[in-house]
């Protein structure tokens, strides 16, 4: 077996194979970029509240406890569909606002972030936008 299995060939296959599969992946990525405008609700982004809400989502590290479209931490509920689950943006805002600063004895509780009304509007706009993204019918039910 030793004579017929050369390091040079193995190395060439590594470089060639890697380049090859990288190209296939880039082609799939190119197609992805062409298709997602029909699914990602990008026209909603003309509303500046969404970008502001996304930034609040990030700078308060919400993903450190929650998932968004299933990605993040598994300590707190999925938020990709929270506007649907709670029924309205107002309900989401009221929930965030009502969190006790000292938590709930013995239980997990969301911190009180002290958001302004404007912040809350932005966050709700962002979560509403995410809920409208076409995520291939995920999650399986409204509980997330």
């Amino acid at each position: 077996m030793s004579g017929s299995f050369t390091t040079t060939t193995a190395r060439n296959i590594f470089y060639g194979g890697t380049l090859f599969f990288l190209l296939v992946f880039l082609a799939l990525t190119f197609q992805n970029e062409q298709i997602i405008p029909q699914r990602d609700q990008r026209e909603m982004l003309s509303n500046p509240q969404i970008a502001a809400g996304k930034k609040l989502w990030e700078t308060n590290n919400c993903v450190g406890c929650h998932t968004l479209l299933g990605e993040g931490a598994y300590f707190a509920p999925e938020l990709g569909n929270v506007v649907v689950r709670m029924g309205s943006k107002e309900a989401v805002k009221a929930f965030i606002q009502s969190r006790p600063a000292e938590g709930v004895p013995g239980r997990r509780s969301m911190p009180q972030f002290g958001f302004s009304d404007q912040d809350l509007d932005n966050i709700a706009a962002f979560l509403d936008y995410v809920s409208k993204i076409n995520a291939a019918k995920w999650p399986p039910n409204v509980q997330g």
């Binding site: 017929s4 060939t9 060639g16 029909q38």
Partner: protein, 207 residues
Amino acid sequence: MSSNTASIAVQNPAARPGFSLLDRYHPPGDLAIWVFILAELLAFGVFFAVYAVARMKNVELFNAMQPNLDRSAGAINTVLLLAASWCVARAVAAIEHGRRAASARWLVAGIGCGAGFLVVKLFEYAAKFAAGINLATNDFYMFYLSLTFFHFMHVILGLVILVAVWLKTRAGAYSAADHHGMETGAAYWHMVDLVWIVLFPLVYVMR
């Protein structure tokens, strides 16, 4: 290598000196390419299986869509790939007899047929893209485009390998005694051909 296998190898007139039985009867070409070929065949095999499952779940759609494919283009391409494989096999046979120039000519013929496949396929794709078909059109077209495109890329890779082998042949790198590299390239090309022989009937013809 143990002395035992060495003595058997020497007794066998076909055995090249210094090689054990295992070496003599391993598949032609470098073993490393065979690992890669098996991995590729596995990927295609799983892809075909997933196609079969998806078709089973939605036979009406697949049957309604299949006639839209260009079967004559597919048939021409089948002939082209088979011809290319034959040429490549002739090239290996020629180099085994030390006929370097003939071997190079057979390789050019093989590369020509392979390039012909790409041209026919591009026309086929152009017609589909002009009709606004992409990976999101429906399940059938998703599989049609995915499978044929993945194979198309393999034809390109196979051709790149054949061109490299051809250049080396012209440079005199292979001989009757040593054409290990050409066998390695040829093995990969035959895999590309083999996959098409399964893919074409599966996607274009079978109902």
